[in-house]
Amino acid sequence: MRGLLKGLAGRVVKRYQGMSIQMVLSLSFTAVALVGVVFMGGSLLLRFSDSARNLSQQATRRVLAQVNLNLDSYLRRMMRVSDTMYYRVIKNTDLASDTLDEEMGLLYEENRDALVSIALFDAAGRLVEAAPLSGMKASAEPSQSRWFRAAAERMENLHFSTPHIQELFDDPDYRYRWVVSLSRQVQLTRGGDTESGVLLVDMSFNGIAQVCREVELPNGGYVYLVSREGELIYHPRQQLIYAGLLEENNVAAAGYSDGTHEESFQGKAREVTVKTVGYTGWKLVGVAPSAPLWGETDSVLLFGLSLLLFSAFLMAFLNFRVSAYIADPIRRLDQAVKELEAGGETVEVDVEGGCYEVQRLSRSIRSMVSTLRHLMDDIIEQEEQKRRSELEVLHSQINPHFLYNTLDSVIWMTECGRTQEAVQMVTSLARLFRISLSGGRRMIPLADELEHARHYLNIQQIRYRNRFDAQVEARPGTQGLYTLKLTVQPLLENAIYHGMAGAEEDGLIRVDAYREGDDLVIDVMDNGVGMPPEKAACLLEEHGPESGGSGSGIGVRNVHRRVCLTFGEGYGLTIFSEPDEGTTVRVRLPVLDEGAAARYQ
């Protein structure tokens, strides 16, 4: 289970990560709104269901009250007939001298719509008088009838029987009528003496059936009538029940008190409302199927579902639009960044609209892009400068004046028979060019650079007839280190042309390489004419003054720029000089072994 949940969460996260912000927003909004709508819909449905149930129960109770009223009215009418017959006719008649047939016939005619017969029996069950039929069936035994016994046993009461077929009188039409018998014990006067008798009013069952027949309850409910013992008196489908095709919970219903009860019958939940009918003890039972949770019918459920779906549709539509509005600036920003990634040069990161955070992000990206472009311009510029410096170096390598003068010196020495010196000079020149080329590499071993310096100094010493001495020294700890190619030679050229210009065989040029922490320092020192410190200070400036005389300070600045461009602003040249005391040009480079130097190649 836990693994399943974890897997599910993983899938959701994966799906979430693959979605756009607009999709996430719209789906989240829609889901939250849907949950809200479902919750509200459920609450309303429950409330509606409760209200519907209450209304249904109230409606059932009202209907039952009305039926009870009608039934009561019908029964009262029958009781009035009985009372009239007894108190106005029987009590005023002496059966020894008078008959009841006229008054009884009149009373029957007045109420024939509701009556089947009126009959008076003596205590032994013999017929005294009856209307409209007076011929009793041979098989009739009134004294054995339940209505007769009930009247005889409880003389003070009126007794209503359950429905039965009228079985007393011969009907020439062979009509078997359903009646409800109202019986009471009466006092008959015969010759001045009183005796007991039983008055029977058979009312048509149709009257009761009509009271109940057209009654309809909510949800297809119906009303039926049972005796206090649970015997069915009226039921809209009573013939089916009698035939065994249908069952009813009438016996249980007879035990219910007045009010509404929940019951389950044949697997169906029903609401049973009971109302006791006066005088008889009968019970009116209203049966209504329990209203389902969602209301009365399927159409209510579908209507609710339709509303829910329409709300979902509306919310989804609005959420899609709103989320699109919110996410559009972010999407455009994302698009612009993608174009930038793809190398677009004219991409405008200028997102209008959107919320504060998006606008700030847009401004930040715009600023970042601007910085990036400036940096790129700087890099391009630096590369350009580097390229120019390299060209200048190349140019210096093949300085035609230097080459011409050297070769001229070789010719002159050869003509003068100074062959040894000529050989030495040509050898140094050859070595000089070989190191200058160095297979096209920018970084060369410090030893090669210093050797290059020695050969250059050799050549220049010969040319300048040893007007200066030269010393090249590499201190311990510098073995195996690498340096930028042709760093020292332009400085030596500067020292010779400017420092040694006035030297009289006492000039000295020293090259000293040593380590200082993580730096490699190469000092190029001369004891020449020197210069004021302020002039020395501005020699390295980009547009500073030239040092004057033959040669050029451009070479020194070029070396300085190359070192700075290659290793950064922390490295480069420093010039120390005092007039008549000489000049020291200090080159500061990072300590580079072969591996580190390879990165700068």
Partner: protein
């Protein structure tokens, strides 16, 4: 690409929700439309010329029709037990697009042939007699009913010759009752005479230990003849109409086999409606009982014999 895919997803969601809304709006209307379809038309074709014999059954039929949304048309024949006449009425009703027929067959064999040959084109429920090709029959177990009636006669001490009268020899249901009674009586060693012309007038006053008839119409006729001729031969009948009930009460009819005609009518129309709507429910044989005059007012019998109208 991704944006257009998501736009498509959103569009699909909106279309699906919109379609669901339309569906939930249209479905109830369609359901209402279905509910408002015209009621079923069910024709009931009797084999008698007088429909009063089926008055109780008709009450059951009308109750079922009312509950199931059917319109009933009850048709009698110009002449009782006219098989050809009944068949033409049945064909006419089928042609007039009755959704189902309930038939009390005058000649179940003829009707069965028409059904098997597919002449009618609508389902038929038979009452009283089983019919080949009719998917449902509503009747008591006729053979058992005949045997029970014979047993009632035997229980009453009948020892002489017994006249069995059958006015509807083509009705297999009635014939099965006769056959059942005959079998039971012959097994008891009684002499039996079978009269299949229904001519009781010249026979009833014979030296019979009992006379047995097996359908309501003939029971009423035999009852009237017996009372008219002042005979006291025990008479056993089948089916309890008001006249027969009165005869039972007076003792003219010694006993009668009875069943709930209301239930028979209800079940027949219920079965016909179910068949018309494409379902089928096979009914069990109707329960029957032997009724005597002294039992007629027993609550359980009066409820069955005299329906509350």
């Amino acid at each position: 690409m991704k944006n257009s895919r998501q736009a498509l997803i959103q569009l699909a969601i909106l279309v699906a929700l919109g379609a669901a809304v339309l569906l939930t709006i249209l479905l109830p209307r369609q359901a209402e439309g279905r509910k408002a379809v015209e009621p079923l038309e069910i024709s009931v074709v009797l084999r008698e010329a007088d429909s009063t014999l089926w008055a109780t059954a008709r009450l059951g039929m009308e109750q079922a029709a009312g509950e199931l949304g059917a319109e009933l048309r009850v048709l009698t024949l110009a002449q009782a037990n006219d098989a050809q006449g009944q068949l033409s009425v049945v064909r006419r009703e089928a042609e007039q697009k009755a959704d189902a027929l309930v038939v009390v067959p005058a000649d179940p064999v003829e009707l069965g042939l028409a059904l098997i040959q597919g002449e009618l084109g609508c389902p038929v429920v038979s009452l009283e007699s089983a019919v080949d090709g009719a998917p449902q029959t509503v009747a008591p177990d006729n053979g058992a009913l005949g045997r029970a009636l014979a047993q009632a006669a035997l229980d009453d001490g009948c020892r002489g010759p017994v006249l069995l009268a059958n006015a509807s020899p083509d009705s297999t249901g009635v014939t099965q009752r006769v056959r059942g009674a005959r079998q039971a009586l012959e097994e008891a060693g009684l002499e039996v005479r079978l009269e299949e012309e229904g001519q009781l007038e010249g026979l009833l006053d014979g030296e019979w230990a009992a006379v047995m008839v097996f359908e309501p119409a003939l029971t009423e006729r035999a009852l009237a003849l017996k009372e008219g001729m002042g005979l006291d031969v025990p008479l056993y009948g089948a089916g309890v109409t008001a006249n027969v009930a009165a005869g039972l009460e007076r003792g003219t009819v010694t006993a009668a086999a009875a069943w709930s005609d209301f239930a028979a009518g209800y079940l027949a129309v219920e079965g016909a409606a179910a068949l018309a709507r494409g379902t089928q429910r096979q009914a069990d044989p109707l329960p029957f009982f032997i009724l005597r005059g002294e039992d007629i007012y027993e609550p359980k019998y009066q409820k069955l014999l005299f329906p509350v109208s």
